[in-house]
Assembly symmetry: C2
DNA sequence: GTCTTCTTGGCAGTGACTGCCACTAATCTG
DNA sequence: CAGATTAGTGGCAGTCACTGCCAAGAAGAC
């Protein structure tokens, strides 16, 4: 989106600036070290200097790459969100979202089980580390416009449309709640492919009711009954 | 909830500890000063010492009442959320949520227009102050279990029920998106009762589709289409 | 009044982060 | 190759949000 060569007609001279992709890779590498340290000794007990040393950079450049200590977990958490967003981007017109999810979300949480494990570990930590919780929520909200973009394209409406934004927020909230629940449920270090599949199915099932309403399907039984009684 | 007199049989001696209500009032008073300063000169330009001095307390007690500088806006923001939560708590069984909202949410955003103005000003600031945005999102999530409680009582299910929590998250997301939109729309210092009424109606209309699905109403878009086109 | 418990404010300290600057790295030009 | 040009790095000093500690005051029970 941003980069390649802007090339304003003026030939570029001097050292070329770092690519967004390069920067992202570097941030991710550091992020893994930070997550490991946070898991081992807690957030407060881990100093910025430690993270920098473990990652092999100076403390100064660490603060250039991350605006705050807690922000060091962003790249790892983003693995999970990016994976979901990627599925949304590749959402073909002929499928319902839940169908597409079951088909394309097989990769799950960023290709490797280790990544999923790291993500869920951080999510688990957000329970008692308010700083990390804030990062998790902000990251989720940052993904919302992208979700809205996919929904807008599907519904043939503007991204700024209030209804589209509301649906995107609901989808987003669903993703958050289910991911949280997965993190609380799965024990530390025991992330299995089966658990992730269950997570994917549950996600697909819930999003079906959010993105598919038109059919006139009466909805999950329990909700209709209690609301009318 | 916490308590009046725990009275374990042992007569209490010495100075009684501060009530939760007293503490909350004090925090709110300080919060108003903090919000004013933040609006006047920005968050980064406002020091903790300034807030403390304006509020007439020492810096030390300020940090005892608020864990971080940005957290000073919490009590003001909570006005808005508490108001919504209060409506939920008083939700009678004979009404649908949207009906109850239109009837009971007249007070709107905490009784006074000044409070609403302050809340919306902070929400507006969250656009460019990431720290404040984080506080806003965390506060919203903190309200979620309470929303879930109301929904659980209504649906006669457990608060821990996943479906209940998902609906609560959706309701919460709706409230957030609409409040944000209200804040972006209304100009600084120009909060009118009419704008708040429109906000309330829009909220009721959207929540109707979330809490009332059973009817077999074909599409939620019809409710918002009129407002956006 | 004393005793007991809670709260406050000051003071010193820590650590996250920033501005500044010299130095190195990467690319183009001649 | 040297020289110019632009980008990124690391160190150093400084600021400020925030914490632990402790003595002093405040609000009760007796």
């Amino acid at each position: 989106m941003t980069g390649e060569q802007a090339d304003d007609g003026v030939a570029r001279r001097g050292r070329p600036p770092e690519t967004d992709a390069q920067r992202a890779r570097r941030r991710l590498a550091i992020s893994r070290h930070a997550v490991r340290l946070f898991r081992e000794q807690g957030v407060v007990q881990t100093s910025g200097e430690q993270i920098a040393r473990a990652a092999g950079v100076s403390e100064r450049t660490l603060w250039r790459l991350f605006r705050a200590k807690e922000a060091c977990v962003e790249p790892v958490l983003t693995i999970s969100l990016d994976d979901f967003v990627a599925v949304l981007r590749s959402w073909p017109a002929r499928l319902e979202l839940d169908e597409h999810l079951r088909a394309a979300y097989g990769v799950e949480l960023g290709a490797s089980l280790d990544d999923a494990e790291a993500v869920l570990a951080v999510v688990r930590m957000t329970r008692h580390e308010p700083g990390l919780r804030a990062v998790w929520l902000v990251l989720h909200e940052r993904a919302e416009p992208i979700i809205a973009g996919a929904l807008a394209a599907r519904l043939d409406r503007s991204v700024d449309d209030l209804d589209v934004r509301l649906r995107a927020a609901a989808v987003n909230a669903t993703l958050r709640v289910l991911t949280d629940d997965l993190a609380w449920t799965v024990a530390d270090g025991a992330v299995t492919a089966a658990a992730l599949e269950h997570h994917r199915d549950r996600l697909a099932g819930t999003l079906r009711t959010l993105t598919r309403l038109p059919d006139g399907v009466p909805q999950p039984s329990s909700t209709t009954r209690a609301a009318t009684s």
